[in-house]
């Protein structure tokens, strides 16, 4: 209570962090986004294919299609310029004669098949048709995930158009209304079956973000704790404490308990925000029913690991200028390694090996075990043991280092 600024940083900033990040990332997890992204479309085809592409893009609701800029007609050069300047995320250029050439190509293929089956051939030599390409221009700052998602969507759209063209061509050649005979709906579909067996409940941004960023905030305790120890060394209070008949381990135990309480308060505040505040921000509520005890255990052991790291850093560092930036950057590195931003499975092989060595990864996996994999205490034990060992090793190393320093 003596340091309101410090209290804000300790308790309010993690809440601001978790709300901001969850709001931002929520769109990524939602199947239908609330916002439409404006994209440029240059239709050089003006045929059935480009019409279908435009209809499907419009119907998706994710994009707002722009086909002209002001009075001037939209050219490929102009669109490229606008996109590369970052004014638009994407431009799609549909090539000239795409509909005509696609129809011709499909007709040729169908005729070839039919003639091989004994149907009458028209005797004409097939005209050579060059493959067509739909050009995509992306803003250089666009993330790869967005690019991949757009490319997949367009690929799927083209495949559907090609299929329909093939059915239509067969119908024309056979002189029958084949389209009505063939069921053109996809025969193979997929559906996601979750751990609970319910089909429609999939992990959302809140279930992912709250544990990840809670862990991040818990580990940030490294910064104030290490600064506190360095300051105690500098102002002489540590000398006073050490010259008392209380073992150094008791002094560290006092700090551990205090900072552990801070970590748990942070944790409960963030869970409370996830459960009670998020629904008011149009975010899904954090689902913790039946998991709170196990989540508390994970927070407790993660807090211990963070405190161990803070004690070690504070013991080794000589000035707050050493401990604060190192503490902050190392927490960010551990978070990155641990999979807070990018899932571990999506990392390069080397980083996947390194991730296993990050206490933040153990904590995150333990949280996911509880919240997403419906794990029991037994499932969590390996991660909890690793977090505890990390605490013991770092604290022992700190005590050893301190003793060595006094012996020099």
């Amino acid at each position: 209570m003596r340091d309101p600024g410090g209290l804000i940083i300790l308790f309010v900033m993690p809440l601001v962090l978790i709300i901001t990040i969850t709001l931002i990332q929520d769109g990524t997890f939602r199947s239908v986004s609330d916002t439409s992204i404006p994209i440029l479309l240059i239709d050089n085809d003006k045929g059935s294919v480009s019409e279908t592409v435009q209809t499907q893009i419009s119907e998706s609701g994710n994009f707002e299609m722009i086909t002209s800029l002001g009075e001037e007609p939209l050219t490929e050069e102009r669109a490229a310029e606008e996109v590369f300047k970052g004014k638009y995320q994407l431009a799609i250029v549909i090539p000239e004669n795409l509909s005509r050439d696609l129809k011709q190509k499909v007709d040729q293929n169908v005729l070839t098949i039919l003639s091989s089956l004994g149907f009458e051939d028209n005797g004409l030599e097939p005209e050579e048709i060059q493959p067509k390409e739909i050009k995509l221009y992306f803003d250089p700052a666009t993330q790869q995930a967005f690019k991949n998602s757009v490319k997949n969507g367009i690929e799927r759209m083209i495949a559907t158009i090609e299929n329909q063209s093939i059915y239509k061509a067969f119908g024309e050649q056979l002189g029958e209304d084949v389209e009505s005979h063939f069921d053109q709906e996809s025969f193979i579909a997929f559906r996601e079956i979750t751990l609970t067996g319910e089909e429609n409940i999939i992990p959302n941004s809140v279930q992912h973000n709250v544990p990840a960023w809670t862990l991040f905030a818990i580990f940030f305790i490294v910064v104030p704790l290490s600064i506190n120890i360095v300051k105690e060394k500098q102002q002489g209070t540590l000398v006073r404490l050490i010259s008392n008949p209380v073992p150094y381990a008791v002094v560290l135990a006092g700090k551990t308990i205090t900072y552990l309480i801070i970590c748990l308060i942070q944790f409960y505040l963030m869970v409370a925000v996830g459960v009670y505040l998020f629904p008011y921000l149009d975010l899904p509520s954090l689902e913790v029913s039946g998991h709170l005890l196990l989540m508390t255990l994970v927070a407790l052991f993660s807090g211990l690991a963070a405190i161990g790291f803070g004690v070690l850093l504070g013991t080794v560092a000589k000035t707050p200028e050493q401990s604060a930036p190192f503490g902050a950057t190392s927490v960010v590195v551990l978070a990155a390694m641990g999979g807070v931003w990018v899932p571990v499975f999506a990392m390069p092989n080397v980083m996947q090996y390194l991730a296993v060595a990050s206490p933040m990864n153990w904590g995150l996996e333990a949280f996911y075990d509880v919240l997403l994999r419906k794990g029991s205490l037994t499932d969590l034990l390996p991660e909890l043991i690793l977090l505890l060992l990390f605490f013991i090793v770092t604290v022992l190393f700190a005590i050893g280092y301190d003793k060595k320093q006094r012996a020099v």
Binding site: R2, D3, Q234, Q235, G236, T237, V239, R240, L241, I242, S243, N244, P245, V246, P247, V251, R406, A407, V408
Partner: protein, 251 residues
């Protein structure tokens, strides 16, 4: 016959990578009930010696006992009978004077009602009761020094180590501190004290050792030291005669 409070024998301390010994084969006995002044220029080894006696630094070799307890065998027992007042204001600036004293008192093994009584009594003795609930950060230099002293004596140690307890304080606060140290001594506390205020040491100390380059160059009562130094009228002149006028900048 008085007992020995501190017995130091052949004590050495050489820091890692240092070219010289900070404490060099130092042997001395300090009797119980003395106010022992450890005087010397900067870098003479005073703070290193006190740090070793308080268990903050490990000697390179040699040994010492405090009230008959060997540091090698009974370092924890030694910590129970000593008090330490560091040169720095070793207090938590955002806590009040009372909170600081309660905390450090509890760390020195006092608890409950006894702790409360001792804290109130100590604050009263150094005229700090009025400011007991003010944060240390708001205190003047002299007030901070007084609280700094109290934090080291709450558990009524047999031997008190003071590293420059009056540095940077006004005359009034200095007088209060010195008078209080005399009272503590009269109650039986042995005091080991370092200072650059030689006239203050001359007035306060019953025995003085002048230390330089880790060695003791003179050891006696202030009066004897002055008497036996040719042309010296006070301790400052004795000090200059022994340690010279050359600057002793130390890091």
């Amino acid at each position: 016959m008085s007992k020995t409070a501190i017995e130091i024998s052949g004590l050495y301390k050489k820091y890692k990578d240092a070219d010289y010994f900070s404490v060099n084969n130092l042997s001395i006995a300090i009797e119980e009930g003395e106010i022992f002044g450890l005087l010397g220029p900067n870098g003479a080894g005073k703070t290193t010696l006190i740090s070793m006696l308080c268990g903050l630094l490990k000697p390179t070799s040699g040994s010492f006992t405090i009230c008959g307890q060997s540091y090698k065998k009974n370092s924890n027992e030694i910590k129970k009978i000593i008090g330490v007042v560091p040169q720095e204001i070793a207090l938590y600036p955002t806590l009040t004077a009372r909170e600081n004293l309660m905390y450090f008192g509890s760390m020195s093994g006092i608890s409950g009602k006894d702790l409360k009584l001792k804290v109130e009594s100590a604050l009263e003795k150094l005229s700090l009761s009025k400011f007991a609930d003010k944060k240390i950060i708001t205190f003047s230099g002299g007030m901070k020094r007084r609280v700094n002293l109290l934090a080291g004596i709450l558990h009524n140690p047999q031997v008190l180590f003071l590293d420059e307890p009056t540095v940077g304080v006004d005359v009034q606060s200095k007088n209060v501190i010195i008078d209080y140290l005399k009272t503590l001594n009269q109650e039986g506390m042995t005091i080991v004290y370092t200072s650059h205020h030689l006239l203050e040491a001359q007035d306060l100390c019953t025995k003085i050792a002048i230390i330089d380059q880790g060695k003791i160059y003179a050891h006696n009562t202030p009066k004897e030291l002055i008497t036996h130094t040719e042309g010296a009228n006070n301790l400052e002149e004795v000090f200059i005669a022994i340690t010279g006028k050359e600057l002793r900048d130390a890091t």
